[in-house]
Amino acid sequence: MIKELFNKMFEYKENQTYSFILPESSNNISENQFNKKDSTTVFSKIEENKKYLQIKYNMLINSDIKIREFNLTFKAKTYPAFLIYIDGMVNDESINNYVLKPLFLRNNIKMQENTKKFQNKTTKKIYYKFDVENYLHSSLIPQNTVLKENNFSKIVSYINSGFCVLFIESIKNALCIEAKGFKGRNVDKPVTESVVKGAHEGFVENIRTNTSMLRKIINTEKLIIEETEVGVLSKTKVAICYIKDLTNDDLVSECKYRINNLKLDYLISSGQLEQFIKDNAKGPFPQTISTERPDKASNYLLLGRIVVLINSSPFAIILPATLVDFLSSPEDFNLDYNYANFLRFLRFIALFCALLTPGIYIAITTYHFEIIPSELLFTIIAAREAIPFPILFEIITMEISFELIQEASIRVPSSFSTTVGIIGALILGDAAVSANIVSPILIIIVAFTGISAFAIPDNSLRFAIRMFRFMYTILGYFAGFLGIALGFFIHLLTLSSQYSFGVPFFTPYMPFDNFTKNESLYINPVWKREKRNKFLNTKKPNIEPHISMTWRKDQK
């Protein structure tokens, strides 16, 4: 038995942690290859057109591109045809009533014939050549915008912007018919990520509406939206969105691998999926970005990340994510880089203040009082003189009360939230000080900590910070700066070993690497953001050429 115990204690246990690291080199594609203009024109054979578009749109994996095939009969001749459109971007009613219905039901053209009497009084029947294309364009399809187009690059652009396109056998032009329309509940303002300067559209619960919102911003056929189902019972639709020829293939494969290998009964929200696919399953810090803003999701897609949409959830998951992403606001990219950097710096300071202020206060007042001026020290001592509780109890009580107010104001109906605020301010603030339960300086500390936490843009990061604040408070009480340093040391170590889809959490600071400036906390002016994030190893590293404002160059 003792032998067994020893064997168990010292036996070799294989490290079973799952690890995925993004490979450092990706199959880069050249700038020319990426931006290559498609000069192909419509083929006369319809099958060729169909195959061309199927390849162009990666229809084997792209889920929202639809092709409706049918036959049209004009003057006893049958013409195979098809209609192509992006589901979610077109109005079904428009297509049914004003495109398909006329084509099928109003197509009763007869042989156009004219009788002409000649001078010798003979009469002859003259048959005019029938032009299908003109007939459809001018007589059959009643839509306000019907454009003839034979260049595929323009056709694809029309499809991407919500047109449906009709191809007919032996006709060298395609008819681009406007049928834009978005379904689902009205797109509303994002609730959790409001900005002053920026778009005011948020994702909704319908996955198709959400994919169409992405397509509306990113007008390229390279945007791939792969759909899969998760959950044996719920069969929840999950869309994996990325840009082909840009996003790292290994990253896409890893994301698909994780999502396709979930054995669950049901999945009802993006929050659930986030927890299922994150690298460090037990880590309290967020490892993917959650957003309800299509502009933010599109921006990240164009930078080479992956966006995952879930049906019935208005939140998209962006991956991979680093600490800098959690301290960024979508507004940063709309503001002048000076303001944006100032705000980012403030948020960075706020992160530390929200995490450490109570701990440092307790450490200074208990062990390191020589750090502060004597006058301030006397004020603190005088304020605490009448308080019967130890400082740890005082601060923990206030922090818990603050958390309770926050939680209550979220849970109660909005009409009560003002009342909750007043109760909190009066009872937990003024009355507690008057009753000598807490010192006035502590109210300042707790309020400052709370406001600092609100300045952190990401909700999940805020939760983690709020939670760890208690740990630092306790460590500060028991061992002053030694305790805080211990906590910080372990915290940094655990976070620096945390990965998000192969990308270290503290990228680009830990591990320190040659980072391009637009992935650090400091952001460059918009005309200098030339590179995509290096850690993503995208296939197209450059966002813009060295000189993007060519108008300046031209002037010179």
Partner: protein
């Protein structure tokens, strides 16, 4: 993943500097000034040159062995017996260094901030930290070093610039110190202060880009030397040649001399946060080195398994009751000569012999 992690260039430089920083925070600059007095400036110039030459020799000798550290090289030279001897010597050396550093640092903390606490309580904090760090692994320790080292370098320079105003001509003259013999001959033993060379022997197999080993060693040596020179100069600012008395024995206490107006009375209280973090990293790194040596000697598959026993041993060694003068004796005399013997005799002799053996084998192959 953890076992195969290779340290990048920047991380390696930071880790080597980190090893230096801890001794700077504690007593090394004090021992230099104590021995040679005003001649410290000349002395550090000399030892800088001597150590640099030794470093170049060592780096060139190690560079010929691909992905091998001193332990592997001793195995190559003398088989398992020599490897075991060097390995055990290493373990004893690392335990001596870490336990003395730990006790010394805890004593400083105990005397200044936590006089009510038992020293065991302070030591225990460090032991918890380094145990967890070693469980997480070298990858995180090196990441942490890249974060903390630049901040500590800034703190050392702040201390240097703020104490520079106290530096007067009396502090540095006579420039040749007490006498020529002390400055130029006896003072050569101060070469131990660049003790990071000991760790250069072991860093190569851990590197991701082993071809940059030379570059990494030289850069980290130069930065460490600049830090040493600035702390020695800071220390000299308080040195009175008449009394031959240095009132302050560490950079940590030296930083307490800095005054930054009325609001921040003591900037050292902020520095202490950084320096404690540096000590955590330093000790974690030494425990990693011990674990790695044990792993190599006993062919253990996963060195993390012995983390608790290594840390417990360190804890036990740190509890051996020593007073300040005993600690200073160990650091200033025993440690000084062990380092010198290791750098100048054992290491170089082993490397030269191994190179000779390598050359002989190559020649035999050619024939």
């Amino acid at each position: 993943m953890e076992n195969s992690y290779k340290i990048k260039n920047g991380e390696a430089i930071c880790l080597i500097i980190l090893l230096m920083i801890n001794k700077l925070i504690l007593n090394v600059p004090y021992y230099i000034v104590e021995l040679v007095g005003n001649g410290a400036i000349i002395n550090i110039l000399i030892i800088g040159i001597v150590d640099f030459i030794v470093l170049l020799i060592i780096v060139n000798l190690i560079d010929k062995f691909e992905s091998m550290d001193l332990l592997d090289i001793s195995g190559y030279l003398g088989g398992p017996i020599l490897k075991n001897i060097i390995g055990f010597f290493n373990i004893i050396f690392f335990y001596l260094v870490s336990s003395i550093t730990l006790v010394d640092f805890c004593n400083v903390l105990h005397n200044i901030y936590f006089s009510d606490f038992s020293i065991i309580y302070i030591v225990l904090f460090f032991i918890i930290g380094i145990s967890i760090a070693n469980f997480i692994g070298i990858e995180s320790i090196s990441h942490h070093a890249t974060f903390i080292v630049p901040l500590i370098i800034v703190s050392i320079f702040i201390t240097f610039f703020f104490t520079l105003k106290n530096l007067s001509i009396e502090n540095i003259t006579p420039i040749f110190g007490k006498d020529y013999y002390t400055t130029f001959v006896k003072g050569l033993s101060n070469a131990f202060s660049m003790y990071i060379i000991v760790y250069i022997y072991y860093v190569k197999p851990l590197l991701k880009n082993q071809e940059d080993f030379k570059k990494i060693s030289i850069i980290s040596y130069i930065i460490s030397y600049i830090l040493l020179a600035s702390t020695v100069i800071s220390m000299l600012s308080l040195f009175e040649s008449n009394s031959n008395n240095i009132p302050i024995n560490s950079l940590f206490l030296l930083s307490r001399q800095i005054e930054l107006g009325d609001f921040l009375k003591r900037i050292d209280s902020i520095f202490i946060l950084l320096w404690i973090s540096a000590s955590f990293s330093y000790l974690s790194l030494i425990i990693f080195a011990i674990n790695r040596t044990i792993k190599k000697l006993f062919n253990i598959s996963n060195e993390k398994m012995i983390t608790f026993s290594s840390c417990s041993t360190l804890f036990g060694l740190s509890l051996i009751p020593l007073n300040v003068s005993q600690i200073q004796f160990i650091e200033n005399t025993i440690y000084r000569y062990i380092v010198l013997a290791f750098i100048f005799i054992i290491g170089i002799v082993l490397l030269i012999l191994a190179n000779m053996k390598r050359r002989r084998l190559l020649n035999e192959k050619k024939i």
